[in-house]
Amino acid sequence: MNIKENIKTLVIKKPLKLDCGKSINNFPLAYETYGSLNENKDNAILVFHALTGDQFVTGINPVTKKDGWWSYAVGPNKSIDTNKYFVICANVLGGCMGSYGPGHKNPDTNKIYGTDFPVITINDMVNAQVNLLDHFNIKKLFSVVGGSMGGMQVLQFISNYPDKACTVVPIACTSSHSAQNIAFNELGRQAIASDHNWSNGKYLSNNTLPDKGLSVARMAAHITYLSKKGLQEKFGRKLQERDALKFGFDADFQIESYLRYQGSVFVDRFDANSYLYITRAMDYFDLVGQFDGNLSNAFKKTRAKFFVISFTSDWLYPTQENKEIVIALNAIGADVGFVEIKSDKGHDSFLLDVPDFLKTLKNFLDKSYSER
């Protein structure tokens, strides 16, 4: 683990009742901000990160020393323009970048939680993060924005706090995790659990790390973030630093080498137990179920303006699932726009340099801000 200096933390004193029935209090929520809050405090955007993201949205991440996960979209003059908006992002509950998670000590036993940490839901995550509004004395956010699991938090947030945001931008997400989504997450969790070093989640006390398992989990997940066409065009059957097949099990193909690399760099920055907790939270996400099968009821109390974005080649959270959110909103006459962006970059499109997406997001936010 890296030394986590430069991490801003809000200690949430009041008890938070979790969906699992347990309560937590006096727990840390790590966050970062970009840009500055204006006098009216009406230019704040709460960005929610995806499964393996963190609060370091843009610029250089002080822990990993790499670009923030949404550097393409967030920054001065970018889609989410930090010259104009005050951007807040928190590390989710259960995460491993400073917020309360399985790597923390259990105050009752003084031992690292591991899998004794309570199971977290998307609902718990947003209920923890809403405390940031009080902390900054913000009555109403200009926008809540997020892709993938961040989009799920966006939906849960506006459902829980219907008058706390003017605009709502769920990107490449779903209102209910599908069997296929759960299946892929389970594959990742089983990869971690089958690594001997995982030791039933007690690896931090044993000073061993389930690197192999976590990296296999990442490799499998990474495939789901890309599209077949994207992979084919980038790698095809190209060989890795060799002229011919070696008739062995080394990485003959570039795609193999690429996935191995993705797996190996991931374990340096991510905690295996956090991976279990956060994927579980995604699997438990079912906003449709929370409202007895009628998603429209999740949004009945809000007057916010929605803009839903999906990508043509995203097969993990396909357009149809995003459209179901639009349909539920139209059914109650809510203000909702929707666009499917053409891209070959799969689910990852929202994180990458996809000009149509970046331009559309900027246009929506800036226009809505000037007309607010």
Partner: protein, 198 residues
């Protein structure tokens, strides 16, 4: 702005809820917002045009009217507008019924295939008519269900909807269509504009 749009704006009452089906680049929606203070929503099939609308601050969803009107409840809009696209649908009958269901009132405009230039074109040349308002060849036209003003009036009786107002646009002149002048309007008008109800 196109005369057609001016007529539509005139037909729509202030502060109403309007759905523009096939809203193109949002020109009509903008005008409706500005002149009639309406709550305008659009549905558009082209990604580029949806993005143009978003850049204008308009609320538009990308979708195909043939399938995507289902999501709107009955009577959820005061007006539904369909400008010159009825002829492009695979099943115009289903689309009209959906428009009438979703909107309390529906405004439909149709390029008139009964116009004398179109008739003459076919009569003299013996090939599928190509005119200013119908610029495509038969093999690449999106218009697969062309009709005339007279056809549309007949259609209202077949699937049983009421025509409250019918206007003809001829050389930028607007005139009323009624039973006694239908023959002439069908011969001379370039565009028919209808305000209909279920």
């Amino acid at each position: 702005m196109k005369t057609e749009y001016k007529i539509i704006v005139d037909l729509i009452e202030e502060k109403t809820r309007v759905l523009d089906v096939g809203c193109d680049d949002g020109t009509l929606m903008e005008s409706l917002k500005k002149n009639k203070n309406v709550d305008a929503r659009g549905i558009e099939i082209s990604k580029d045009k949806v993005q143009t609308c978003v850049s204008k601050g308009l609320t538009v969803i990308e979708g195909n009217a043939e399938f995507d009107l289902k999501q709107f409840p009955n009577d959820s809009f005061d007006y539904v507008v369909l400008g010159q696209t009825l002829q492009a649908f695979v099943n115009p009958e289903v689309v009209i019924k959906e428009l009438l269901r979703v909107g309390k009132k529906t405004i439909i405009t149709i390029p008139n295939f009964g116009n004398w230039k179109v008739r003459l074109n076919l009569l003299i040349k013996g090939t599928m008519p190509i005119t200013k308002s119908l610029p495509n060849d038969w093999y690449n036209t999106p218009n697969i269900h062309m009709c005339t003003i007279k056809d549309f009036v007949k259609f209202s009786k077949i699937i049983n909807f009421k025509i409250f107002k019918s206007l003809a646009l001829t050389n930028r002149n607007i005139s009323n269509i009624n039973n006694s002048n239908l023959f002439y309007k069908n011969l001379f008008a370039e565009l028919g504009i209808f305000l209909i109800e279920k």
